[in-house]
């Protein structure tokens, strides 16, 4: 269950919520529809599960619609997803036809609901062609891209661009991802929900239970990296950093991830990780189910240092989660990690396993600095990467696109 504005006020302060209420004043009763392709699972559904109720609580008339399709449709959109992230994929004609047909059918079912809405937010490529079925649409239509499109596979992007350039605006997570379009390109980084199972405060027994479950010694320092087993996350480099650092100080490592079942590459990387770990008693390689949110939360809280040594990263929400738990993060100097790891303040940006090992040793030796960084880390997330900031920017965007001017909107 998502939290209420009052519950979030207890975390971020009344003034932040007051700010949201003031922004929402100009949007009272506006009909807002969000459209994506799944009600559960995945980052987009996670966002909509809190965004829709909070927009309603602020006085907007907000709803969430999910388009449905068959296997051909999902095969096509999975290929799109991979292509947007830079993989070369082939797109047979029948997949494209199935994709467009599915969108036409869903457009008929959604009909007036979308046509009469004041704002329609279309999330990711799955429902992107819906726009073309509504030539008489009343409101503003915004395409929200949640994917890292910094290096898309061009032929697929060229096709998709044809579906999205007609929108009134688009939203991107980072400036690096924003592709040129004939409409305003809004930049809204993602956020975390401090009341979700992955981020809520835990009782000490909950953390202890997870320590016991995985045989983690509470008396020795722990570094944790939570991420898919993917070469871009450099899990083998993390093991190397652990080995270098643990030669000087007692240390344990948890590498926890999941979701490798539908990803043959993931299975292979996991094998390489296990080989690199070589049954070391202090390296814990954990395959977690997708709903292991409390376990992830507990592991991050049990950690002394959170690591995200990616060599390529979109935004890096696991970094945000670690910082929120008051842990300094040693992160790869790439993508959205740079927005969050403020060198020497909330953690360290590194380029090599050696660099990571050096910073781990430094932090374990200077416990006072580790704690100080942890406090700053939490503050950074409190002010910049919680869902209240995300919601504020959504409201600001809605106000902005209803005005002609690009510079200044006086309400």
């Amino acid at each position: 269950m998502p939290g209420t504005l009052n519950q979030y006020a207890a975390i971020v302060g009344e003034d932040v919520i007051g700010h949201l209420r003031q922004l929402a004043r100009g949007l009272q009763g506006s009909r807002v529809v969000h459209v994506n392709s799944t009600r559960e699972g995945g980052g987009v559904a996670e966002i909509l599960q809190w965004l829709v109720p909070l927009e309603n609580e602020l006085g907007l008339d907000c709803s969430w619609e999910v388009i449905t399709g068959d296997d051909t449709f999902y095969q096509c959109t999975k290929n799109f997803h991979n292509a947007l992230q830079g993989n070369q994929v082939s797109m047979p004609e029948h997949l494209i036809e199935g994709y467009e047909e599915t969108n036409r059918r869903n457009a008929e079912e959604l009909g007036a609901k979308l046509e009469d809405a004041d704002f329609v937010f279309i999330h990711d490529p799955q429902p992107a062609p819906l726009l073309q079925s509504f030539p008489n649409r009343r409101g503003k239509w915004v395409w929200r891209c949640h994917v890292d499109v910094s290096h898309p596979y061009r032929p697929v992007w060229k096709y998709l661009r044809g579906h999205v350039e007609g929108y009134d605006a688009s939203i991107w997570s980072l400036a690096e991802f924003a592709q040129p379009m004939p409409h305003p390109l809004y930049l809204i980084p993602p956020s975390i929900d401090p009341l979700s199972d992955k981020n809520r405060e835990l009782e000490s027994w909950e953390v202890e239970a997870v320590r016991q479950e995985y045989g983690i010694d509470p008396h020795r320092p722990l570094m944790v990296q939570i991420s898919r087993f993917d070469r871009f996350k450099d899990p083998v480099g993390v093991i190397r950093a652990f080995r270098l650092a643990s030669a000087f100080a007692p240390l344990q490592l948890v590498l926890a991830g999941g979701g490798a079942s539908d990803d043959p590459e993931g299975e292979k990387v996991l094998e390489e990780v296990r080989e690199a770990a070589n049954n070391h008693k202090d390296i814990h390689v954990l395959m977690l189910p997708p709903d292991a949110n409390v376990t992830v939360n507990a592991l991050q809280r049990a950690a002394d240092i959170v690591v995200q040594k990616s060599v390529r990263e979109g935004f890096g929400l696991t970094v945000t989660e670690g910082l929120w738990k008051g842990k300094p993060v040693i992160g790869g100097d790439t993508g959205g990690i740079r927005l969050q790891v403020i060198n020497h303040h909330t953690g360290f940006l590194v380029n090599t396993p050696e660099g990571a090992a050096l910073r781990i040793r430094y932090l374990l030796k200077h416990r006072n600095i580790l704690k100080q960084m942890g406090r700053k880390a939490r503050q950074l997330v409190l002010e910049n990467f919680l869902l209240t900031r995300h919601l504020r920017e959504h409201l600001t965007l809605m106000l902005a696109i209803t005005h002609e001017t690009m510079e200044r909107i006086e309400l």
Partner: protein, 230 residues
């Protein structure tokens, strides 16, 4: 009492309208990977980009003193690894330029000078390009209406950083005098408010965070109160 002159006139002055603002960033699709590209893009990007990369940092996460006060200097240092140019660019104070176009010209001039003295054009890694961003500002009323400087003084510590940005930073590009909103309002109250206005004019907004600025503004009000004997 901070300023008493206006009261002697007998007329109730117009209250100060406290506003707040929210900024939202916009991508432009413009990027630079080397110094010459930076110069070329600077010549053609929207003036809002120049403003954003000088002042937008105030609304970004920062701790203690940032290494560089503007995004261009930071990128030249971290992306192009040109410490000398970064220092020269960091020294450019946007407050010294009444028009954004003058600021643009100064930036280009500093880069041109560097290009003319170096034997090669420095490049950044592919994942360290400079992305030009601009912002839209949405301004809204807070319903707060301090009637006199004393009421404003009491209110200042409680102002949001958005209000501080709007009244103390954004005002400089809105008002013909290029002053902050507090000073504009105080000047309308009469000459006795001049010490307060002069105090506010001494605050250098470029080297402080918004919360530090709020403290500095409150201090100026407090000092004037003391000088007036409370």
């Amino acid at each position: 009492m901070l300023c008493d002159h206006y009261r002697k006139g007998g007329e109730m002055p117009e209250a100060f309208t406290v506003k707040d603002c929210a900024l939202i960033a916009l991508g432009t699709g413009e990027r630079a990977q080397n110094l010459r590209e930076l110069r070329d893009r600077l010549l053609r990007v929207h003036s809002g980009c120049i403003y954003h990369h000088f002042w937008g940092g105030l609304l970004k996460p920062r701790f203690e003193e940032p290494e560089f006060q503007n995004d261009f200097a930071a990128w030249v240092y971290h992306g192009l690894r040109d410490a000398g140019l970064a220092e020269r660019m960091a020294l450019i104070d946007p407050g010294e330029f009444s028009e954004i176009e003058d600021l643009r010209r100064e930036l280009v001039e500093v880069i041109e000078e560097r290009l003319s003295e170096s034997e090669f054009v420095p490049w950044a890694r592919i994942d360290q390009q400079f992305y030009f961003i601009r912002s839209q500002i949405v301004v809204f009323d807070t319903d707060l209406r301090p009637q006199d400087p004393e009421s404003l003084h009491l209110l200042i510590p409680k102002l949001s950083v958005g209000s501080v940005f709007y009244h103390f930073i954004d005002a400089r590009r809105r008002t013909s005098s290029k002053r902050d909103d507090f000073s504009e309002w105080l000047l309308g109250l009469g000459e006795s408010c001049l010490p307060l206005v002069e105090g506010l004019a001494k605050i250098d907004p470029y080297f402080s965070s918004l919360s530090e600025l709020r403290t500095e503004i409150a201090q100026v009000f407090a000092q004037c109160t003391e000088q007036k004997g409370g």
